[in-house]
């Protein structure tokens, strides 16, 4: 199971997986527009791992546990939505959810709830992890790693620079991803999902949503 899960992590964490990740900057584009410098990207990523990404990872882990128990994933979706004050981020999360739903239905076909098309990425990822046999800590790592890679890949498009330097940042953040994953991997119930917010990230997301000249959708 563990070997399978680590290869699964490679498959699902690969930017070449056609899940819609290329449209995303994980909030980096509006952050740069608001004056964040590219040198501040590592601390920006640490903030995300402590706040919005932790919420997402926690929701995914709980969705996996609820799916395993045959529970109602709509309750996990509601808990995630209550922890995501930005309408733009909720809409984006649900768009991404539909992308992962296609991955799920093609790679691990099986019955899904009729409301699954309205679920956000963490909820669909939780169901996918349950069906694919991925363990909770790897699922949380996947959410954290995907977020870090999304930001850094977007940085190379928004402010081109030495890609190896950026890869070194990602490597340096791996312990932070592991730490976040360890904090959420044991969660089981919707009430336990973290709710850490980041007021400026949420404000920037709303502002970005109104801008027409942009490279990334969020």
């Amino acid at each position: 199971m563990d070997t399978t899960s680590s290869l699964l992590l490679a498959l699902l964490g690969d930017a070449r997986l056609p899940s819609g990740g290329h449209t995303q900057s994980a909030g980096l584009e509006p952050a740069l527009r608001a004056g964040t410098s590219s040198a501040q990207v590592p601390p920006y990523l640490r903030v995300r791992l402590r706040t919005v990404t932790r919420v997402e990872a926690g929701a995914a882990v709980v969705a996996r546990a609820v799916a395993a128990d045959g529970g109602d994933l709509a309750e996990v979706e509601a808990a995630w939505a209550a922890r995501t004050p930005s309408q733009a981020l909720r809409a984006n999360g649900r768009r991404l959810g539909r992308g992962y739903l296609r991955v799920l239905q093609t790679l691990w076909p099986g019955p899904v709830d009729t409301s699954a098309r309205t679920w956000s990425r963490p909820v669909v990822l939780g169901l996918l992890a349950h069906r694919a046999g991925m363990n909770a800590v790897d699922l949380a790592r996947l959410v954290g790693y995907d977020d870090v890679q999304t930001v850094t890949a977007a940085l190379l498009k928004l402010e081109p620079q030495d890609p190896l330097l950026i890869a070194a940042w990602v490597k340096d953040l791996l312990p932070d991803i592991d730490e976040m994953a360890a904090q959420v991997a044991h969660l089981h119930t919707t009430e336990q999902i973290p709710a850490q917010g980041a007021p400026l990230i949420e404000r920037w997301a709303e502002t970005h949503d109104t801008i027409t000249e942009r490279l990334f959708s969020a």
Binding site: Q40, R46, A79, L200
Partner: protein
């Protein structure tokens, strides 16, 4: 150790029944009628000192209204032992709670926590304004953490934890160099912003956040003193809207009582389930045909 401040209100036939227990705060009635009251919260001692845990428990009975006004701002003073300020409120079916907060100023050298818990039942609504300032004059401010949990009979409406500790808040995406935050939040219906929030691309300014199910928040963040124009005006407008809906609903109910009608069962069931998004009609189809009061909240 000082116990919690308790405040409860229930409608009666003539004058509403207001009961309270004095803790760190006491209550002064500013205005009262058969269904509710407007009260001021006044500190009974110097607040908020290191080690103080101020707890305020509020119960608004079904059908009642309660306006809470903080008489003065609060300073969380420095000290080795953390302090806290928590509000725990229950709002019954058809009831409304509004809370006009004054600035909460976090001094240097203190770790303080603000906690808010709101439980709505049926068609209950709540409206709150919360102003925080990090640092007194010439200070950067200590460590603040905030937690909010609002729910109705269906489930969670909003859950938020903010770590505004000195190190955490200065990181990109949290507060950066901003030091003040003013948040007006409605739960139980989704009012629109009254003005045009200044979109802006940088830190300071207002943002309107419609919540997923039933509620909305307007949040201003800035540097130093409160310079926002929109939050106070929005609180006033949302307050007026909520009270107008409340009064209309009561008028309709009283009319119905006077005519010896009871509410249709389907409406009662919808109320129990908590209706979505505030586009409520408080009247029954019978009312509409007869041309009675037909409020449509928005």
């Amino acid at each position: 150790m000082t116990g919690p401040t308790r405040l409860g209100i229930a409608p009666t036939g003539s004058r509403s029944r207001l009961h309270h227990r004095t803790g760190h705060l006491t209550v002064r009635v500013m205005n009262q009628d058969a269904d509710g009251a407007r009260v001021g919260l006044i500190a009974t001692q110097a607040l908020l000192l290191s080690g103080d845990d101020v707890r305020i428990e509020v119960d608004v009975a079904p059908g009642a209204w309660l306006d809470v006004v903080e008489a003065t701002g609060t300073v969380a003073y420095e000290g080795d032992t953390p302090s806290s300020w928590t509000v725990d409120a229950t709002v019954g079916d058809g009831a409304i709670l509004t809370w006009a907060g004054k600035p909460f100023v976090v001094s240097d050298e203190i770790a303080t926590h603000r906690g808010t818990r709101i439980r709505l039942h049926g068609t209950g609504r709540a409206l709150m304004q919360e102003k925080i300032v990090l640092g007194r004059a010439g200070q950067l401010g200590g460590d603040l953490s905030m937690s909010l949990e609002a729910s109705d009979d269906t489930g969670p409406l909003q859950v938020e934890c903010l770590d505004l500790g000195q190190e955490a808040r200065q990181m990109p995406g949290v507060l950066g160099n901003l030091r003040s935050m003013d948040t007006v939040t409605a739960w139980g219906w989704t009012p629109e912003p009254t003005g045009e929030p200044e979109a802006g691309t940088t830190g300071p300014g207002e943002t309107y956040f419609p919540l997923d199910r039933s509620g909305a928040a307007l949040r201003w963040m800035g540097i130093g003193r409160f310079r926002d124009q929109l939050c106070d005006a929005t609180f006033a407008a949302w307050h007026e809207e909520a009270m107008r809906d409340y009064r209309l609903r009561h008028a309709t109910q009283h009319l119905r009582h006077a005519r010896g009608e009871t509410r249709p069962a389907a409406h009662a069931v919808a109320d129990m389930a908590g209706r979505p998004h505030g586009r409520y009609r408080w009247h029954s189809p019978t009312d509409r045909r007869e041309g009675a009061v037909t409020p449509s909240a928005s």
